[in-house]
C-alpha cells in the first residue's frame, strides 16, 4: 500500500517534470536560436574582452612612460587584471583542447 503510493507520487512528479522540462527546453532553444548564442559566440566575446584588457595595459604602459598617467598603483592593478585574464584564457583553451582530444582519441 505504502509502496504503491510512493510510485504514484513518483509518476506524478515525473510527468510534472516532463511538462516543466519540455516548456523550458523549448524556451531555451528558441532563445538561443533567436540571439544566436553558441559556444563560439561566447568564445569570441571573451577573446574580445581579453584583447581589450591587453590593449588597455599596453596604452597604460605608454602613458606611464610619457607621463600622461601618474598612478603607478592603478597601472599595476590593470596589468594584473590583464595577466589574470590571459591566464584564464589559457586555462579555458587547455580545457577545450583536452575535451577535443578526449573525443578524438575515443575508441570504437
Amino acid at each position: 500500500m505504502d509502496g504503491l503510493l510512493t510510485t504514484q507520487g513518483l509518476t506524478d512528479y515525473q510527468s510534472a517534470l516532463r511538462t516543466l522540462g519540455t516548456s523550458s527546453t523549448t524556451d531555451q532553444e528558441t532563445n538561443s536560436v533567436a540571439s544566436g548564442n553558441s559556444f563560439s559566440n561566447y568564445l569570441t566575446d571573451a577573446v574580445d574582452q581579453l584583447n581589450q584588457k591587453t590593449a588597455t595595459m599596453d596604452q597604460d604602459t605608454v602613458n606611464l612612460i610619457t607621463g600622461d598617467e601618474s598612478d603607478l598603483g592603478n597601472v599595476m592593478i590593470r596589468m594584473t587584471e590583464a595577466q589574470l585574464a590571459l591566464q584564464t584564457a589559457v586555462q579555458v583553451r587547455n580545457k577545450c583542447l583536452e575535451a577535443y582530444n578526449d573525443v578524438k582519441n575515443m575508441q570504437f
Binding site: 598603483g73 587584471e81 589574470l84
Partner: protein, 139 residues
C-alpha cells in the same frame, strides 16, 4: 565589475593613499611658508574621503566600490608669532606663520604608508585567490 572587483576596490584605496601622501608632502614642503608682504601664510591641507557606494540593479542594496575623495580641506586656524622687525608684521608686531605641525605630518605620513602597504597586501591576496582558482582541476 565582475571578478576583478577586489582589485579595483584596492586600486581606489591605493589612489587615495597616494593623494594623501602628496598632500602631506605639500604640507611638509610649506612648513616654513610664513606670511610675507605679498603672500599669506601657508594653511595645512588634508584630504576628505568617504566610502564609494555603488547602487546595484534593484536599487535596494548598495555594494562598496572602495573609497572616493570628496575634497581637500584647508585648516584655517591662524598661528601668530611676535616678530616686529619683520616687514610683513601687523600693527601689533605679529606675523602669521604656517600652521603645519611637523610631528603631526610625520605621524600622518607613517599611517598613510602603512595603509598603502595594507592595500597592496590585500590586492596581492586577491590575485592569489584568482590564481588559485585557476589551478582548480589542473592536470
Amino acid at each position: 565589475m565582475g571578478i576583478f572587483n577586489g582589485l579595483t576596490i584596492n586600486a581606489s584605496g591605493l589612489a587615495l593613499e597616494r593623494l594623501k601622501l602628496d598632500t602631506i608632502s605639500a604640507n611638509i614642503a610649506n612648513v616654513n611658508t610664513n606670511q610675507t608682504t605679498e603672500t599669506e601664510a601657508y594653511q595645512k591641507k588634508s584630504v576628505q574621503f568617504s566610502e564609494n557606494l555603488k547602487n546595484s540593479q534593484n536599487g535596494l542594496s548598495s555594494e562598496s566600490a572602495g573609497v572616493k575623495v570628496t575634497g581637500i580641506d584647508t585648516d584655517d586656524s591662524v598661528k601668530l608669532a611676535y616678530d616686529p622687525t619683520n616687514e610683513a608684521a601687523d600693527e601689533n608686531g605679529y606675523v602669521a606663520q604656517s600652521n603645519v605641525d611637523m610631528a603631526d605630518e610625520m605621524v600622518q605620513m607613517i599611517q598613510t604608508v602603512r595603509t598603502y602597504e595594507a592595500n597592496v597586501s590585500a590586492s596581492e591576496m586577491n590575485k592569489t585567490i584568482l590564481k588559485k582558482a585557476l589551478e582548480i582541476s589542473k592536470g
